[in-house]
Structures are given as structure tokens and as C-alpha cells.
Symmetry: C2
């Protein structure tokens, strides 16, 4: 496949810890329910999975936020549960209830029956990646993504969202052997899934370890981090165009394990809003000319409910907490990719996103001059 040349490589450069003229910004869940045009497309699609499985709809909603805001990256519109769905667990989205699996994985027989899914069942995702990449026409890079092995396991065992993770943790503590078997399967499936996204045109990939932070110290390292590492070890390093495909790992609630995460074979670590960006930079960001991770994050999505003047001030505070931008074009150094610390709320006023993106670009340019 050949695609149009990339016009705005700010995000990719920042992932690789190269100096940029502004801090790139994109927002987790930037194509979503806070946008009326998204709701209109979803209504036409009939359902969430109707939207996610239709290449034209997925392309349309992925590009919607880019039409409103000068974002520096696009992210595939999809769901983190496509992989277990392809494993045959029967994903559905009941109205206002979030995802649910018809056949959760709760005993030895169910774990034994798991297999890396036939990627043909996920063809709709890879087709969407190619379609979106073409539609972007080089405007900004396209990020592919997957849930982490542990996060997928949470949903696969609980069968739905949970507030205490009782079932999945019961299996973890009572039958760690079963949990390890499921996680190894998930890791190999996620790696194949992300590699297929890369082949289809994804220019960067991100692993969402959304529920890693619910694990105890010790359990996180054994049941989440180790399997994220297993995914990373299998990922392709370059796309079909020969370009490096940067890899981001985001463990929500993982701030305590940042030093251990810095050993991961990835380029970028995502941070939630509880982490002090300056401290994270000192720990894992790497001085100019030394190895380190690019850092992504981490403003509280609830800042977007404040008026634009307060949004501007909070953006300046987050940029300031990261500290002086790396500007030495001759060598890599600490870089920051601006994002929320979690997905954008469906209740966000769209015009407040305008204020946020503008504040990131304006303040981060000023910091460099």
C-alpha cells in the first residue's frame, strides 16, 4: 500500500523524543459522544458496533474531531473489546449500560477453550485503518490501538464493567495458573492484532492498560506489565512505508510503577492526571542525549467543564509542570505529547476543546521562543 506523504509529523517526532516547534496534542476518545456530528452518525449506524464495524462510518467519525480542531494526530475509531469479541465471547452494548459479554471466561474449561482469534474476523478494523489513512491524506498520523492483555482479561472474566474487579481478581489470587494462561493468549492475540493494524497503515500504536492500576503492587508487575512486555516484543518496528511505528503504553493509575514501566520496549508512556509531569520527566524522561521515554498526558478531563479562561490557565500549568521544552534538533531529549489523563467525557462542551487545543499550541510555541 502507498499513502500520501505526511504533512504534520509533530506527533511522531515527539514520540521519538525529537525537538518540535510546538507540543503536539490529541485527545483520548476524541471521536465521541460529546460531538453532535458523532451522535448523528451513530444514530444512522443504529448501534455502537454498527458504527465500529462499518468502514465508512468508522472513517467518518475518526475524521470528525479533525474538522473542528487542529489536532496533531488521529486515532482509529474502534473499541478495546474487539479482540475478545473475535474470540467468540459475544460482545454487545446495551443502551446506557456499557459493554457486556454473553459468555464470560470464569473457569478452567472456558480458559482452555480460548484461542488467538482468526484475524479475518477483525478485517473490519484493518479495513477501517486503511480507509482512514487514505482519508487523512497525510494531514496527521494515524494511531492504532488495543486494550492490554490484563484489561481485556478484566472484561473477559467480569463479563462487563466492574467497580471492584472481584471475579477477575478472585481468579488471579485463587488460580494464578489460569490467569497466566489467559494473559499469554491475550498478549499473542493483541500483538497479532496490532501488527495487522500496522500493516494496514497505522503509523503509531497505543496499548490501553486501562485497568492495570486496580492491581496490587506485585500483581501489577506479574499480571499486567509482563504481558504488555510480551506484546511489545512481538510488534513490528516499522510500517509498510519503512517508517518507525512508535509504541505508547498507558496504564491508568500506574504512576507508582513508572520506573518499572520505563524498562518496557516502547517509545512513549501515557500518564493520568495524578502524576506530576516534572517528576515523571526526571524519573523516566531522559536528559538530552540520553535514552528515555516520551511522556503523554495528563490534564484532568474535568478541566474541560470550566470556562475557557480556566482551561487556558490549567493547560499552561500542565505544560509548565513538564518544564522547559527540548529544543536541540541534533539529538533526542525529553518530549511531551499533550493529552487528557483519560478519555474525554461525553458531557464536554465542544467549544471548550477548541480552547484547550489552542492553549496547547499557543503556550507551547511561546515556551520555545
Amino acid at each position: 500500500m502507498s499513502f500520501a506523504p505526511l504533512l504534520n509529523d509533530t506527533y511522531l517526532r515527539a514520540c521519538l523524543r525529537q525537538a518540535t516547534d510546538h507540543t503536539p496534542v490529541w485527545l483520548m476518545r476524541q471521536a465521541g459522544r460529546y460531538l453532535p456530528e458523532y451522535c448523528a452518525t451513530r444514530a444512522r449506524a443504529g448501534s455502537f458496533m454498527g458504527l465500529a464495524t462499518n468502514v465508512d462510518y468508522a472513517t467518518e467519525v475518526t475524521l470528525q474531531p479533525l474538522a473542528r480542531y487542529p489536532l496533531d494526530a488521529a486515532i482509529l475509531f474502534s473499541d478495546i473489546l474487539t479482540v475478545p469479541d473475535a474470540m467468540g465471547l459475544g460482545l454487545s452494548f446495551a443502551q446506557g449500560e456499557g459493554p457486556r459479554f454473553a459468555t464470560p471466561v470464569r473457569d478452567e474449561a472456558a480458559v482452555a477453550a480460548l484461542a488467538v482469534p482468526d484475524l479475518a474476523k477483525l478485517r473490519y478494523v484493518f479495513d477501517a485503518v486503511t480507509s482512514i489513512r487514505r482519508a487523512l491524506n497525510g494531514r496527521v498520523p494515524l494511531i492504532g490501538f488495543s486494550g492490554s492483555p490484563w484489561t481485556l482479561a478484566c472484561y473477559m472474566v467480569e463479563g462487563a464493567g466492574s467497580d471492584d474487579y472481584r471475579l477477575v481478581k478472585s481468579m488471579l489470587y485463587a488460580r494464578p495458573d489460569l490467569m497466566h494462561r489467559m494473559l499469554a493468549m491475550n498478549a499473542d492475540a493483541v500483538a497479532a492484532y496490532l501488527n495487522a493494524q500496522i500493516d494496514a497503515g497505522a503509523q503509531a500504536v497505543m496499548i490501553f492498560d486501562s485497568w492495570g492500576g486496580v492491581l496490587a503492587d506485585g500483581a501489577f508487575q506479574a499480571f499486567s506489565l509482563a504481558y504488555t512486555a510480551r506484546v511489545l516484543a512481538q510488534l513490528k518496528r516499522t510500517g509498510s512505508d519503512g517508517q518507525i511505528v512508535p509504541r505508547t503504553v498507558f496504564t491508568k493509575g500506574g504512576g507508582l510503577w513508572l520506573e518499572e514501566m520505563s524498562a518496557l520496549d516502547c517509545e512513549v508512556l501515557g500518564l493520568d492526571w495524578t502524576v506530576n509531569l516534572g517528576r515523571a520527566r526526571a524519573l523516566v524522561g531522559g536528559a538530552a542525549g540520553t535514552p528515555g521515554k516520551a511522556l503523554q498526558g495528563n490534564i484532568d478531563p474535568n478541566v474541560l467543564f470550566a470556562p475557557p479562561a480556566q482551561i487556558d490557565a490549567e493547560v499552561a500549568r500542565v505544560l509548565g509542570s513538564f518544564g522547559a521544552p527540548h529544543t536541540d534538533a541534533s539529538r533526542p531529549g525529553p518530549t511531551h505529547i499533550f493529552n487528557l489523563g483519560h478519555g474525554i467525557s461525553q458531557h464536554t462542551p465542544p467549544e471548550h476543546v477548541t480552547a484547550l487545543v489552542e492553549a496547547v499550541h499557543t503556550h507551547s510555541r511561546a515556551l520555545r521562543s
Copy 2:
């Protein structure tokens, strides 16, 4: 008031960083729905608040877990929302839905109308403290408690539990002046409430900052930690019997801010399961002969769903992560109070708690010999 002499002071000694012959253990929410005898008493009381507001029932359920397990402390049976209820917000517990306030605090007028409540409205709590202390008859110390100013504010603004804290954070970011006014009021109310518990016979107190961990770095320090400090500055240091009343602060999800929390004027810091106890000890536990905090926690409550052999192994692991016990009776040193990292689940098999308490006592005695 005079009470029977204390027979088991292990918990109080550990709070004061004094050497003990075993690691004391108690469990957050140890009087609760996992116990059939609790459910029976609650059924007689008719409702949760019927239970909490009746001195005899509150005494009965507080003592129930002590009849089953050799716990080293009792904790007042009550709710963290008694203070805002006394402020006139109209607390109720709908069946299976958790707490709800009839008149949440969402605008300037509602904040302006807030006042430190008349403590006479909370008399039922102080009467329960005295009744429980008498019923304990010196067996173990009695812990009083309150929610933190920020945690109370979360419920007061949201009006109920929340998964995104959108309303309270919207006020925080949009109208920090209102939030500060509410928090100052809450802090003064909490201090008066805890002091009255101390006067009524509480031998230690604990501040539950259950929702401090949802705040962004920076916001935590300004909107939670500062007001916990304001409470602590007002607390009585000794009870009516002249004994020191140790103070514990527990911020769930606060592991990243442990060093800042170590500046609090309290004796004990509570930790959830994400924190490595050994690292926490090194950061804030203080070497023998130097100042520091006692540490409380932090096993994942979900460990209690595993069979007793795994519970035993996980208890040993948690004790081991804290490290070698402080055994020098001549000076203070790092101490550990065993607890869960959060409240016990209602689904816990009661006999698994037997295994946990026995494992703590057995292993911690062995570590000292």
C-alpha cells in the same frame, strides 16, 4: 468518664511506632454485611441509618467481628456521611443504591448556606462511642473516624456516588473559591466531630480520604491535603484519660503523594494495595530512633476470595514487603498495622477472615523470634 484499663494495647503502641510482639490487625469495614449476624441486626433495625443511629445496635454490630476474630482494634460503626447529614443535606440510603443527599450543594447560595452543624444532631454518634467503649471493657482500643473534608465535599456536590466526579470537579476548576469555602467549613466540622468522639471515649481516630486519589497532582495538595491538615491542627492530642490519641490519615489512591503526606501532623498513614510497603517504609517510615509515620495496610481485599492457603501466602508476602519488624523497645522505629487496602467486600466468606487474622498473628510473631 472512666473506662476499664486497656488489656491489648498492641494497636496503639504500633501507631506510636513502639515495638510490639506481633503486627496488630484490624479490617476496614470489619463490622459489615459479610457477617450474617450483622445482616440479622440490620434487618431488626430496618435500615442502615436505623442501625447507625441506635446506640444499642451500633454497639452490637461494632463488637460482632471481635466475637469471631482476635482483632487488635475495634472501629466505631457509623457512616462517613453523618456530618453533611447533620448539616441538613438529607441523607438517605435507597435499597441497593448507596447513599444519596436530597439537597446537594451545587451553587454559591448552597455553599453560603453551609455551617458547622450543631453537634447535638450527632449526639447518637458520641453516645455510641461511649457505649462501645464500655462494652469493649478494655479488650482492644476503639477507633473513631470521619470522612475527610474533600471526600465529604465529593458526596455533598455529587449528591451520591460518582464514577467521574464531574460535578465536584467542575466546581473545583470553575469556582475554586466556592470549593475552598466548602472545604474550610467541612474541615472545621470534621475537627469538632472527631474531638467530640475523643471526648466520648475514642482512643484513636482515622480520617478517610476515600476520594483524594481522584484528584490531579496539584489539586490534591490544594483541595484535599491542605484541609486534612486543617483538621489535624484542631484535634485534641489526648483523651479524657490522658492517653495519646493517635491519628491515621488514609488517602485511597494517594501513593504518589506519600512524601507530601508525611508532613501531616498525624501518627499513621494508611496505604492501599498499589503501594509497595517496603518502598513506603523507606520513604516515610523512619529508621529506628528517627521520626516517621507508622504505616497501615495494605492487602487487596480480593485476596479474601482465594482459598486459605493462598490467603496465608499473600499475608506472608505483605508482611515481608514491609520488612524486618522493629524490635528495639528503647526507641521508636518503623511499624506496620496490618489492614486491607480498602473496606472488606460484602461477598467475603467469614471463615477466610479467620485465616487472614491468624496468618498475620502467626507470621508476624515468627518474624520477631
